[in-house]
């Protein structure tokens, strides 16, 4: 089975993140980036499927600036076979709809038009919208099975378990399909030293919008359906509330917890 995993390069959540004053997009200068942690689960799951099948290839696809090559590199170090990096000045500021358009065309081109399985994380760790998988499935005309915490590939089908608040659903879809996975599905592997050395020899294709037949007017800040009007830094955390026990400490604690809907 050949699998395309869509991954995103995101600013490290450990570092100080901010927005650019000029266009209120995420400021990537001086901030370390990395492969979105939630996408590591998708890469791991894809590797496991191909390893179990004993055949097939895992392609990692990213849309992002030059540094996003690092996200591909990490996935190749984990064991993916090849990478596709779509990079184009015009993509800067694209919203989820435009991102899914670029991804869809890149998936088509990477698979000769017929993907077998497309996988994604459940959302990015920076935007955290989680809508791209659904949009991408729609654009590719694939059944979408999202938030998989367990995945089995059968004869022409893929079956997932999706854990909800009140019930766990088992959902089956016909292949080809798009699956997004949660952080419960597996334990992503570390890149091994051998993987790190092998990754250097793996092919990475570089495509621009022209290669995908996408007009620059369809993407970027100007084409976005929504725009960020203003950004305000979250105020510093206020000091917590101190309950002095004057005999009624217990009930006041309970009141507080109930007030915050913790109990």
């Amino acid at each position: 089975m050949n699998i395309v995993v869509c991954v995103k390069y995101v600013p490290d959540a450990q570092s100080d993140r901010s927005f650019r004053d000029s266009d209120r997009t995420v400021d990537r200068d001086g901030v370390d980036g990395l492969l979105s942690e939630l996408d590591e689960y998708a890469v791991e799951e894809a590797l496991k499927i191909v390893e179990a099948a004993g055949e097939g290839e895992v392609t990692v696809l990213t849309v992002g600036p030059e540094a996003a090559a690092n996200a591909i590199k990490k996935a190749l170090q984990m064991g993916a076979d090849r990478g596709v990096h779509v990079e184009d000045e015009a993509i800067h500021g694209s919203d989820a709809a435009a991102t899914s358009l670029v991804l869809a065309e890149a998936v088509r081109k990477a698979t000769g038009g017929t993907p077998e399985l497309v996988m994604t994380g459940m959302s990015s760790t920076d935007g955290v919208m989680g809508v791209v998988p659904a949009m991408l499935a729609e654009r590719l005309g694939l059944p979408q099975v999202t938030y998989a915490s367990e995945l089995t590939v059968g004869e022409g089908t893929v079956t997932i378990r999706r854990d909800g608040d009140t019930a766990s659903e088992t959902i089956e879809a016909s292949l080809p399909a798009l699956v997004s996975v949660t952080d419960q599905i597996n334990e992503p592997r570390y890149p091994s030293f051998k993987g790190i050395m092998a990754a250097k020899k793996k092919p990475v294709e570089q495509w621009g919008l022209a290669d995908l037949g996408i007009d620059t007017s369809q993407v970027g800040l100007d084409a976005a359906w929504t725009s960020v009007v203003s950004v305000t830094k979250r105020p510093p955390r206020a000091q917590g509330q101190i309950v002095a026990d004057e005999g009624d400490g217990g009930s006041r604690l309970a009141e507080f917890l109930a007030g915050q809907k913790f109990i």
């Binding site: 001086g30 170090q77 592997r189 570390y190 890149p191 091994s192 030293f193 051998k194 790190i196 050395m197 250097k200």
Partner: protein
């Protein structure tokens, strides 16, 4: 240069590393952060390493074991890669780095360099994967710095070898599947010879050494050989005399040149953070000149040590190292690392003696590191000999 400097890399020494080296380092750090850091204090307090086998397998998966050796399932990386990994391991704990050093640089290296093809095929792939653990027996109860005078004897009995004697302070001794044991076989058989001993062999016993106040998250043992009978092919065929074990020690010492700086970096990091948060006399203690003088000295020594380690690493991969060069590295870096950890201890005040912080654990660990793989005194004398042509050993 623009931007803020990294407090742990004021000189931007990272710029001297390749992207691959940084990736290797990151992978080593990640496995330590996940498999070691959350548990190591508990192991240290217990004075044991109950997870040694799981750890070995985790390290094997990443490729840490025998990582600088070629073939037989080893990663075949360079000396700087190996050094960077040692540094990350020791930033977690010297005991954990010792597990890896003894496995890769002593036991595996001895087999890889001096063993028969059968030895290599039998042991190296399993050891690289962490499925088999090795130890290295040189030191004896009465013979430490002067191993040439060792008492362990190997005599021939027909085709077989029969070993009698004992070894002590042997890292991994009671958890090992295979021991590389050095014994005197007599002049007619080449003097000191190395033997590959499966630890299940009758006549081999290992007892754990208790009450260590240092390197507690590491298993150290006493080995006894009582009429330990081995087949003819158990001997390492390709080396005779003390230069065998010394070649292995040189490999491991090189790793320590880097490793010790890991303990130092971790301690400096803890002290620096603490100094910014701890307020006395209405200001962070990091604002006092005495504290800054300590931090400045620690950071400077750390970076000088890193430059030294990197220089030795690059030479090792290109032209090779002379023994006194490794001695300069171990002598300087372990001494300075120990000083850094002790100074960090003072910055943390009472918290410095607590196991909640890593600094006292690191400082205590480095007491062992200062002594094993050639005591700091012996390395001083090696350097002295190189300078004067006079041996002051005996």
């Amino acid at each position: 240069m623009e931007g803020m400097s990294d407090p742990l890399d004021l000189l931007d020494l990272d710029s001297l590393l390749t992207d691959d080296e940084k990736a290797i380092r990151a992978a080593a750090r990640q496995v330590c952060a996940d498999a070691v850091d959350p548990y190591v204090m508990q192991w240290y307090e217990q004075g044991d390493l109950p997870a040694a086998r799981e750890l070995a397998r985790e390290f094997g998966k990443v490729g840490l074991l025998g990582m600088h050796l070629e073939g037989y399932g080893c990663a075949g990386l360079g000396s700087v890669d190996y050094g960077l990994a040692c540094l990350e391991l020791e930033a977690s704990d010297s005991g954990i780095r010792s597990l890896v050093s003894v496995q890769g640089s002593l036991a595996m290296f001895a087999i890889w360099r001096f063993g028969s093809e059968d030895h290599k095929q039998e042991w190296l792939p399993r050891m690289a994967a962490g499925e088999a653990i090795g130890c290295f027996g040189l030191t004896e109860p009465d013979h430490g710095s002067d191993p040439a005078s060792m008492r362990a004897r190997a005599r021939r009995d027909g085709e077989d070898w029969v070993i009698n004697g004992s070894k002590t302070w042997i890292t991994n001794g009671s958890i090992a599947d295979v021991a590389v044991v050095w014994a005197n076989a007599g002049e007619e058989h080449g003097g000191i010879r190395g033997f590959v001993v499966p630890t299940r062999t009758r006549g081999f016993t290992a007892h754990k050494i208790h009450h260590k106040m240092s390197l507690r998250a590491s298993v150290t043992s006493e080995l006894t050989f009582e009429d330990l009978r081995l087949p003819a092919d158990a001997v390492l065929p390709d080396v005779r005399g003390l230069k065998g074990p010394l070649a292995c020690l040189s490999e491991a010492r090189y790793g320590i040149v880097w490793g010790s700086l890991g303990a130092a970096r971790s301690s400096l990091d803890a002290a620096r953070r603490y100094s910014k948060e701890r307020v006395q006399f209405d200001r962070p203690i990091g604002g006092f000149q005495l504290t800054q003088a300590k931090l400045a000295a620690m950071a400077t020594e750390l970076q000088l040590g890193q430059l030294l380690a990197l220089h030795l690493g690059r030479r090792k991969d290109t032209v090779g190292l002379r023994p006194e060069q490794v001695s300069v590295g171990k002598y300087n870096n372990v001494t300075k690392a120990l000083e850094i950890c002790r100074t960090a201890r003072t910055i943390l005040g009472a918290n410095g003696v607590s196991g909640e912080w890593p600094v006292m654990r690191h400082a205590n660990n480095l007491e062992s590191v200062l002594t094993y793989e050639g005591t700091v005194e012996m390395h001083t004398l090696v350097i002295g000999q190189a300078l004067t042509g006079e041996s002051a050993f005996r």
